[in-house]
């Protein structure tokens, strides 16, 4: 970066020098000299331009090497970006598997719990009859058999439920693994952003020498216009609904909006 500033300072100094010389030559009528000076000014500018373009392409190559894209061209390996894409696919797979496993376990628990509550209710009704002396001896014997079976099944079901709950807990291990993967990808994205910013800085130096100016407002408007052409493309889940005016913060908001419009 210091080199860049030096080169700019150098360039400005040279320009000033030549410009002064040019004015002097013109004022003294030495037009031949003036034309030579103009040529020298152009040369100075060209040299500066080549220097900055050289720096820019060097930075670009450096970024490509950093992201290992060149090695991949040659050896057909996966670049860091491809790797990141693979990792994110892995996250989607893992979370899907964990969700399905958890749901499998939960679905298994349903019938176990239903049996317990259904049978307990039924036995409770009969038990009340017994408590109110509304039961014959034979009915009571039946009841004791049923209670016996129930106790056995309860124990069995409770153990199974306990196991399932434990396994549901374990199935949440995806968060750790996917979290690690996502952190790596986030890091890669930051590195790419950093490289891009460096490139942009280099490029702006080139623009200064070449006298090019890019209107960021115009670029932004163009970008927004392209996006506006396809409103059916959604934005996905909102991260900060409460900070945006154009987004609802929950089902209640949705209902309010719709009823306020007569839907």
């Amino acid at each position: 970066m210091v080199q860049n500033e030096d080169s700019m300072v150098d360039f400005e100094a040279k320009l000033k020098f030549h410009a002064q010389h040019l004015i002097d030559s013109l004022e003294q009528g030495r037009f031949g000299e003036a034309v030579e000076t103009i040529q020298r000014i152009n040369q100075t500018r060209d040299q500066g331009l080549y220097l900055e373009v050289g720096r820019l392409t060097r930075q670009l190559h450096s970024a490509i090497v950093k992201l290992e894209m060149d090695a991949c061209e040659e050896h057909g390996d996966t670049s860091q970006i491809t790797d990141a894409t693979d990792r994110l696919s892995y996250v989607v797979d893992m979370t899907e598997k964990a969700a399905n496993r958890t749901m499998d376990l939960v679905e298994e628990c349903g019938p176990l719990v239903n049996y317990l509550s259904y049978e307990a209710q039924s036995l409770s009704d009969d038990w009340q009859k017994f408590m109110h002396r509304e039961m014959t001896a034979e009915q009571f014997r039946d009841l004791t058999k049923r209670i016996d079976i129930f106790l056995g099944r309860s124990l069995e079901n409770s153990n199974k439920l306990s196991d399932n709950l434990s396994n549901i807990l374990l199935a949440q291990d995806f968060q750790d693994l996917t979290g690690q993967v996502i952190k790596r990808v986030t890091q890669l994205i930051s590195e790419v952003e950093g490289s891009l910013l460096e490139l942009v800085l280099m490029a702006s130096k080139v623009n200064q020498f070449a006298g090019i100016q890019h209107d960021h407002d115009e670029l932004r408007a163009e970008h927004l216009n392209n996006n506006a052409k396809d409103p059916s493309k959604g934005e996905g889940p909102q991260m900060r609904a409460d900070t945006r005016e154009d987004v609802v913060s929950g089902q209640d908001d949705v209902d309010d909006l719709l009823s306020s419009l007569g839907f």
């Binding site: 409103p231 959604g234 934005e235 996905g236 929950g250 089902q251």
Partner: protein, 124 residues
């Protein structure tokens, strides 16, 4: 009642299917995109459509518009269940003729309320 559940994420389809089963609706089918859902609707005698918005082939909003434009399907009740929460989108869905709009994440209670609202229940 025959219901079609459309979402590109299988876990969400499973969750909705289970919630519908808990509410007593056991006759459900699934599609993973608006593009595969539309022919199913056209050939299938469905009574209710539950769809997401964002899908790679045909989005939920385009599916809704296609349903409303189809002579035989235009009266089909449609519930959108989606993460899309921009006001403009909600209004667009309402104007396109959606019967209910549920934002994710949602509760079983909300789903039940919206379905009940769409189909007035006689008895239970």
């Amino acid at each position: 009642m025959k219901i079609l559940i459309v979402d590109d994420f299988s876990t969400m389809r499973r969750i909705i299917k289970n919630l519908l089963r808990d509410l007593g609706f056991t006759n459900t089918s699934e599609a993973d995109d608006g593009a595969t859902a539309l022919p199913m609707l056209q050939n299938g005698n469905f009574d209710f459509l539950v769809t997401d918005w964002n899908m790679p082939g045909m989005t939920g909003i385009d599916l809704l518009k296609a349903v409303r434009a189809d002579e035989r399907l235009k009266a089909l009740p449609v519930l959108m269940v989606t993460a899309e929460a921009k006001r403009d989108q909600i209004i667009e869905a309402a104007q396109a003729g959606v019967n209910g709009y549920v934002v994710k994440p949602f509760t079983a209670q909300v789903l039940k309320e919206k379905i009940d609202k769409i189909f007035v229940r006689v008895g239970s």
